[in-house]
């Protein structure tokens, strides 16, 4: 819009001017595009390319077609980490969203100690995951960890939280929800604060129950935010693996391993880079699928502006 107005002011030699403008724009974009090409576009293509080759540890790498993919489909660990990843997403995304909404509703209204509450909820977000993992590791330590001490003081038996495949995922999910809910709260808070105040007043004047108002007015209004957060949270659940390095190394028996962590392991512990590339292709495919959903939504928003 703006650009067309600007160029319309001087009709003379418009073509030449347009051409100069293009060159200018391209020059402005050059640094960004070079870096993006080197560290995003090229790696994506290279990943795909390498996934069709043999490792070549004892000879030149050869084209092997879909061999690596066959290996992957045959790899029990791959299926397990994929399943883990979906369980992890299912466990963390809805919970943190629900909590985030609750927190946002609380701190949006006049509640005693509002700024303290905001602070408390948001603080975990600014902490490094590595530090958080260190702290929570001690929470979960069997017998003398904080959680077990608390349970024991109530007369319950201690439990090996991170050493038991049936509890390890839940433990990690709880931690991640703790870390992320405050972050998502911010988005809801922003949306709530842009809710027209007349609406709120209308509700209180008519004496509509708060729950009813929330269900029929606030929540639908927040729908775009919810969608936005869900997608972000989903993407996060696929790239958040720092905690595994500290807390479980993916164990016991891969029970807490996630796709990206497995890629890290295959690539940098086993040096099977072509198989790691194959796994990365899967991850990229998943992210791309999520992204498509996001785009349908984002595009609409861009058009509004």
């Amino acid at each position: 819009m703006v650009a067309s107005v600007m160029s319309a002011t001087e009709p003379k030699s418009a073509r030449r001017r347009n051409w100069v403008k293009s060159v200018n724009a391209w020059l402005l974009l050059l640094p960004a595009m070079v870096l993006l090409a080197t560290f995003t576009h090229y790696p994506i293509i290279a990943t795909l390319y390498h996934s069709f080759f043999s490792l070549g540890r004892s000879g030149p790498a050869e084209f092997v077609g879909l061999e690596n993919y066959r290996y992957m489909l045959d790899d029990d660990v791959f299926w397990q980490v994929l399943r883990n990843n979906f369980i992890f997403a299912l466990a963390t995304v809805p919970t943190s969203i629900a909590l985030a909404l609750l927190m946002a509703v609380w701190v949006d209204k006049k509640i005693v100690g509002r700024s303290f509450l905001r602070l408390a909820f948001f603080t975990p977000t600014v902490l490094p995951m590595i530090a958080v993992a260190n702290i929570w590791l001690f929470f979960y330590t069997p017998d003398y960890g904080l959680l077990d001490q608390f349970l024991k003081s109530l007369g319950f038996a201690g439990h090996n939280w991170l050493g038991d495949p049936s509890t390890v995922m839940t433990c990690l999910a709880v931690m991640v929800v703790w870390k992320e809910a405050g972050f998502f709260m911010i988005f809801y808070l922003a949306a709530l604060q842009s809710t027209p105040p007349e609406l709120k007043e209308a509700a209180s004047v008519e004496g509509a129950s708060r729950w009813y108002f929330f269900r029929r007015v606030t929540f639908p209004l927040l729908m775009p935010t919810t969608l936005f957060i869900s997608i972000n949270a989903l993407i996060n659940s696929f790239k958040l693996v720092d905690q595994l390095v500290i807390m479980t190394k993916g164990g016991p028996n891969n029970a807490s391993s996630l796709l990206l962590y497995y890629i890290y392991e295959v690539a940098f512990n086993f040096w099977d880079t072509t198989y790691a590339a194959t796994l990365t292709v899967t991850l990229i495919a998943i992210l791309a699928a999520v992204a498509l959903t996001k785009f349908v939504y984002l595009d609409r928003r861009i058009h509004y502006q």
Partner: protein, 427 residues
């Protein structure tokens, strides 16, 4: 064009980060090393390096601590693949095949000079086993260990057991453990009988049990494993039953890293752990404790363990020579004795035990020689091609079994199947 851009970027950022070329007269060496036990190990290593540099001002060593063994191997390989290999490193003695496959290292006997063979013969043969392939010596023992049984003598007394008679057989260990378990009023366990760690080094513990049961886990060529043999399965079953049937070990995975603290806090009366932790246990124990060889089924036995020095192929001849000089210095009897005293690792040469310092130390603290005495029962540690991957497979199997996800039979069958798939490339 593209290359130029990259070169420019590189040049630009090199200046930004202030990474000018380091011009130095001295030979510079980078050494990665791992820490797998408690105590101020990084300080001890720094001190060793400092003193060496003082005596040899023409050599500069940068010792980089990079985490546990796996982390350190990862770092060394990452650096090598990225074109910046270290010149020497302390890595798992068992990473030999992997390092050879990657063509990363050089044999040390060729670098050691005229009296090299004699020097290499001065080490305990059990520790040399993992480092010798095709008649060449590829690595030199440094922080070496065997697994020993630590037991709490006070707890033994309290349970009515003789504190001078640790268990000598599997059956005895299970029986004594039952007596050692302590419960509070509501029936919760406050002290376990025995703990065998199942994270990180689960393969090592499994190998100990298998050896005791008369079963090797791999062949010498490092391309065949015996995980699903009956005796291996039996070994794992014994381990699993300690918690599942006898109820003397906590359920689930037992953390290698925190096990020492468990023992020191009295949460378990016995533990299997590396002798490398001995000094840290000694410093931390508020009770009397004993150290014993691992109990036997068919025979006594423990795999050796720990790290060796490796010299990297890409280093210049000068650097390689300097590296060997350091290795010889660091493993000389006096230093080996000192290292053993400060950590608990087995001193790598018999001569170290003949030094006055060591004799005096052992007199006061006889626990210090148990691991060495166990060497006569010791077997080379599991070492195969693609070692990291095989370790992970075995560790997974061990964890699957101790957490009850799979039976020992299922877990080991699957481990064997996966290993064969990985190793088929090296036949």
């Amino acid at each position: 064009m593209r290359f130029k851009t990259k070169a420019l970027l590189t040049a630009g950022f090199m200046t930004i980060a202030g990474l000018g070329a380091t011009a130095a007269q001295a030979v510079d060496l980078t050494m990665y090393y791992p820490v797998a036990v408690g105590g101020p190990v990084t300080k001890i290593i720094d001190d060793v390096v400092q003193r060496f540099q003082k005596e040899n001002p023409d050599i500069k060593i940068e010792a980089v601590y990079a985490g546990n063994y796996t982390d350190t191997m990862t770092k060394a390989m990452t650096a090598m693949k990225g074109g910046q290999p270290p010149q020497l490193s302390v890595l798992f003695s068992t990473d030999l095949f992997t390092l050879m496959d990657e063509k990363a290292i050089v044999p040390i006997d060729e670098l050691a000079g005229a009296d090299g063979q004699e020097w290499l013969k001065s080490f305990y043969p059990a520790f040399m086993e993992n480092g010798q392939v095709d008649g060449k010596t590829w690595s030199v023992p440094f922080q070496r260990s065997t697994i020993v049984l630590y037991y709490n003598k006070d707890a033994f007394k309290e349970a009515g057991l003789d504190p001078e008679k640790p268990p000598t057989t599997w059956a005895e260990m299970a029986e004594m453990s039952k007596k050692l378990v302590k419960r509070d009023a509501s029936g919760n366990v406050t002290r376990w009988g025995v703990e065998i760690p199942s994270t990180g080094y689960g393969y090592w513990m499994l190998q100990a049990l298998a050896i005791e049961n008369g079963q090797k886990l791999m062949n010498e060529a490092g391309n065949k494993t015996f995980f699903n043999e009956n005796k291996t399965v039996e070994a794992l079953r014994y381990w699993v039953d300690l918690s599942a049937k006898d109820g003397v070990m906590p359920k689930g995975a037992v953390e290698w890293g925190t096990l020492r603290t468990d023992f020191l806090e009295g949460k378990t009366a016995m533990m299997w752990h590396t002798t490398g932790n001995l000094t840290a246990v000694k410093e931390g124990a508020k009770f009397n404790f004993g150290v014993a060889m691992l109990p036997a089924k068919e025979q006594r036995g423990s795999p050796t363990g720990g790290g060796n020095f490796y010299v990297f192929k890409s280093a210049s001849p000068d650097q390689q020579k300097a590296a060997v000089k350091f290795i010889r210095w660091a493993t000389a009897p006096e230093r080996a004795a000192e290292w053993s005293i400060k950590t608990g690792y087995v001193a790598v040469t018999p001569a170290a035990y003949e030094t006055e310092t060591m004799k005096a130390y052992v007199k006061d603290f006889p626990q210090a020689v148990v691991a060495r005495d166990q060497l006569k029962h010791a077997v080379a540690e599991l070492s195969v091609h693609d070692n990291g991957r095989i370790y992970k497979i075995v560790n997974d199997a061990v964890q699957a079994a101790v957490t009850g996800t799979q039976t020992p039979q299922e877990a080991l069958e699957s481990a064997q199947k996966q290993s064969e798939r990985v190793l088929s490339r090296y036949k």
